[in-house]
Symmetry: C2
Subunit: 109 residues, 2 copies
Amino acid sequence: MIKLDFSKQGGLIPCIVQEEETNEVLMLAYMNEESLEKTIETGLATYWSRSRNELWVKGETSGHVQHVSQILVDCDQDTLLIKVRQEGAACHTGKHSCFYRTIQGKEIL
Amino acid sequence: MIKLDFSKQGGLIPCIVQEEETNEVLMLAYMNEESLEKTIETGLATYWSRSRNELWVKGETSGHVQHVSQILVDCDQDTLLIKVRQEGAACHTGKHSCFYRTIQGKEIL
């Protein structure tokens, strides 16, 4: 296992979530060491919720879980990119991806 | 323009960089308000370097610039996704994407 640098953001590392089938970027979330271990162990994307301060199995309530097929690390070991199979929508708004608007506010999804 | 939340990371916002042609995720970088303005103004991806503490026009030295075609915002207004046309390699290692390894250390690019 590559040693990750969790030090830059107080024990958290940003994690880009990409849909394997479409290559669409779905969201950005944060992992601490425990959530990464859980993700590897269970195969379900598990993050650290910065607002609730707790481990968060994505889709635990909604059913919109993310099955993780690959975990990639960047050159600086301070960012993850995971490839997932998304059940339902990734975004809490019901949109498939959280990136459904341009910076001008125009909806693209 | 959508108002972004720069408060969560001390004036910085993470920015996922995706290659428009291939949908490959190239890197994650950080922008402050000034770098975002520069990016919009020049059409070249401009970040904030956390290590050098300065504005950083990606590829200014290497020529590996990123022509920005779209800037997307997530549901929480705290993350950007930019679509780019990448000149040369995005990664300083010479790899096309910074995400060239699995977490087990296996090179995929």
